[in-house]
Amino acid sequence: MEIVRSQTKASGPGVIPTIPLYRCAPALEVRLEDFEVFAIDRLRVLKGISDGLSRGKKSDEMEKLVTHFWKSNMKHPISSEVTNKDIISHFVLRLVYCRTEEFRKWFLSIETTLFRYRFQLQTSDVQRALMAEFELPYKAVGNVEYEGLKDKLTQVARSIGQSLPSGNAVFYKVPFEEVPELVATRKVYIQKGHAYVAMNQVVSLVVTQFRSHLSKALVLTNRKWTSMIREKESDRLTPIVEALATSYLGPDYSQPKEFAEISLKDIDQVAKSSFPLCMRHLFEKLREDHHLKHGGRMQLGLFLKGVGLPLDDALVFWKSEFSRKVGTERFDKEYAYGIRHNYGKEGKRVDYTPYSCQKIISSTPGVGDHHGCPYRHFSEENLRAALGKMGVSSRALEDVIDKARNKHYQLACTLTFEAVHNSSCDAGVNHPNQYFSDSQSILKGG
């Protein structure tokens, strides 16, 4: 894929009736703006799918959700460009999410889910065309073999409550390990290592192919990224790619809402009632140790900015704690700059955005660090103690622990919110500042 700065129009190969399989990067020219914008649009789709999955949505709900997110984000004013946008955005995000094991895992799983639902929505002609494109080496079961297996195939169909295979039903004979999900749910007949896959089940076959191809491709892309692209593109693509990885797509919390403004005198009270556990923990540690390491100062500092602590108050607040440990002079010299920097008053003068849950969850706190997401980074024992201190009842606590154990950190936080506020939180927690403002509106409204 060629990336150009000029206004060249991408030269598309015309309308393709199927959905792309992203087998190899296309020779398209892409405008730098599109590079980023397309990627963000696709990212919104992937985020939507990821949230849907972590909320345990069922397959039919997921189908609707995928269709909705795709339609609302992946449109393009020029109809011939729709497929190009699809392909370009996929390859840009591949670059963004190839760089760590965790990124790759997430991207692989969400892109595969997206592909699965899109494939299912195609007509069977398109599905067959896609299967051909994958060059799957499997042949349909011949008549003689089919007659011999008919009883068993009928039995399987009845066991999963599907209509019986009719005379011209197509079955594919494939090694069982190619369709693990059909094997796991006993939705196929298996004999001597071969699974007999009905036409309406080929999606799992295709998905397995899709996943394994993408998985290998991500590893390769990562190698290319570290060995070449990062360096070569250091002043052009690299900053975009790196920013995309941590981009947060929810509402903007960098400007505090008016009612959310807090003053120094209530900060302890508000911390107790409305801070999510990650911030509460940092806040308490700061009061206790009169110090936080860099990661903690950033996470808490930007959050406080987001909830409406003005710069002057922030300086007083941090100074009152830090000076007890390092002295006033050292605070002014070494730490005040960082606080003003967060507020856009120093350096590049960027008004930094408070961290989203995604960013906090994917951070890697080290020795002496207190930042990060407690649901992810605390030991179970410590998490239990912390939740107990927040007043989470023992029954709710088990649910929270269970979610955390299953890596649904944001769900765990949502359940905590609901337990503490005795009120539901339908949107889920996606941002600490959202937690805060939701909490405040419940406390002030009720």
């Binding site: 094991e101 039995q155 066991s159 069982f176 390990e177 693990p180 094997v183 796991a184 006993r186 298996i190």
Partner: protein, 452 residues
């Protein structure tokens, strides 16, 4: 009324097989590290384990991957629960010496890694994912404690001949499916030393399954969904049973349930029949059965087992033409599945890097050797008659040995012979064929790439 088991094995009195002569040379009972030293020194089939774990790569063929055995993780549990993980050995003698020297209470076998597991730290700096499992037998672990809600003869760690048929069922059901459905051929069943069985599927294809594929096979076998708060633990949905379940039911489960478990576990006795009635979703039927059973408490015919008699009544009612609801008709099968169908420990099978105890280890609590079980003759297997460490040492002390291997003259002999002839030889034959054919394919490929 006591349940008479018409089972030839029952004539045999347990714990009596030691003849008088044995008793003279007897070694005090129980497990002790000194016995273990003798066992590893004279009886443990080191060479066979090495050949198994090498899968033909110890041969002279140029296609042999000489690093293969050295990348396998072994793990030793020593006295006082000292746990040595990531042990690896370069050769048969290397392994044998380590076992003899460390005298582990338990030897576990892990996966084959991409690099020598003992040097994993050296590779850790090289970047991500260098140290990762690449091969591992597909394994299953079935433990009697998972059946505690359906066995009444023993609980926890104990087993007896009344509950052991549950393991026999598990072997029969899984072995048939692994061979007929999944097409595997090289399957080793092993007594776990106390209260369960292990299964090692060693076909090349099985060893290379990824975690998702392993989980799929394990899920395929899972019917029982444990949950203490739900009454029904087996729900069979749909209009028909999947062919695998239907076959298991007719070939194994039904027969074992009716012929053995019903009477040996007294499943329809006064104290227990309510639990089974609870599984029937039709009030009318349950109260009718309850009425019958309360009446015939005394009058039942002495000849027939009351559990069997009542089961026939229950089946008759549930499966009569009058019953239309599929939930009611399916109920007979659900009761049989709940009480007899294998319950496997899913976690053990799902992950490549799960450790499993090696065959021929000695269980430290029972002193019994983890001997292989022939699936074709698993009904004859008697866990209470498996050679113990002290028995074997007694046999050595009698000096029956003439020549050849020490184990040959002991009661471990037939186990080692079975392992060799029925498992190892066919396995190594197919390994050699595979090494040969993949070597040729590779040569073919490199020739093609040269011309290109």
């Amino acid at each position: 009324m006591t349940g008479e088991v018409e089972n030839g094995r029952d004539d045999m009195v347990i714990d009596e097989p030691q003849a008088e002569s044995m008793r003279i040379n007897a070694v005090p009972d129980g497990f002790n590290p000194n016995y273990l030293k003798v066992y590893y020194g004279k009886l443990f089939p080191h060479a066979d384990i090495f050949r198994w774990m090498s899968y033909g790569t110890d041969g002279k063929h140029p296609g042999c991957d000489q690093s293969f055995f050295g990348r396998r993780e072994f793990s030793f549990t020593l006295d006082n629960d000292i746990y040595l993980r990531f042990q690896s050995f370069n050769s048969a003698s290397d392994m044998e010496n380590a076992i003899k020297e460390k005298c582990p209470f338990k030897i576990d076998i892990g996966p084959v890694y991409s690099v020598d597991p003992a040097k994993r730290h050296a590779y850790a700096q090289a970047g991500d994912n260098v140290f990762t499992p690449v091969e591992r037998e597909l394994v299953f672990d079935i433990d009697m404690t998972d059946y505690d809600d359906v066995r009444y003869c023993c609980s926890g760690a104990d087993v007896c001949l009344d509950c052991w048929p549950l393991m026999t069922i598990a072997i029969k059901v899984l072995d048939a499916s692994l061979r007929d459905d999944f097409g595997f051929n090289h399957i080793l069943w092993v007594f776990s030393g106390r209260r369960g069985v292990h299964c090692w599927v060693c076909d090349a294809k099985a060893r290379r399954l990824n975690n998702e594929q392993r989980a799929a096979v394990a899920e395929y076998f899972r019917v029982y969904k444990g949950n203490e708060n739900s009454q029904k633990k087996v729900s069979l949905m749909g209009q028909a049973l999947h062919p695998f379940l239907a076959r298991s039911y007719t070939n194994v489960l039904k027969d074992f349930f009716e012929r053995k478990l019903l009477s040996s576990q007294q499943l329809l006795s006064e104290e227990r029949y309510e639990k089974i009635l609870d599984m029937i979703p039709d009030e009318g039927i349950t109260s009718e059965l309850r009425g019958k059973w309360q009446d015939n408490r005394r009058s039942s015919m002495a000849k027939e087992d009351i559990n069997v008699f009542r089961w026939d009544q229950l089946k008759h009612l549930l499966q009569s033409g009058k019953q239309k609801a599929p939930g009611v008709r399916r109920c007979v099968e659900e009761i049989v599945f709940s009480h007899a169908y294998p319950r496997i420990d899913m976690e053990v099978s799902k992950h490549m890097n799960h450790l499993l105890k090696a065959p021929f280890c000695v269980h430290p609590k029972t002193g019994r050797v983890c001997v292989p079980i022939d699936p074709d003759r698993c009904e004859e297997f008697d866990p209470t008659n498996v050679p113990t460490l002290s028995k074997l040492l007694g046999e050595i002390n009698m000096g029956l040995r003439t020549e050849g291997d020490e184990w040959d003259a002991t009661s471990l002999g037939q186990s080692v012979r079975y392992f060799r002839s029925s498992f190892l030889q066919p396995l190594l034959k197919s390994c050699k064929e595979e090494i040969e054919s993949s070597f040729i394919a590779k040569k073919e490929q490199s020739r093609n790439s040269l011309t290109w």
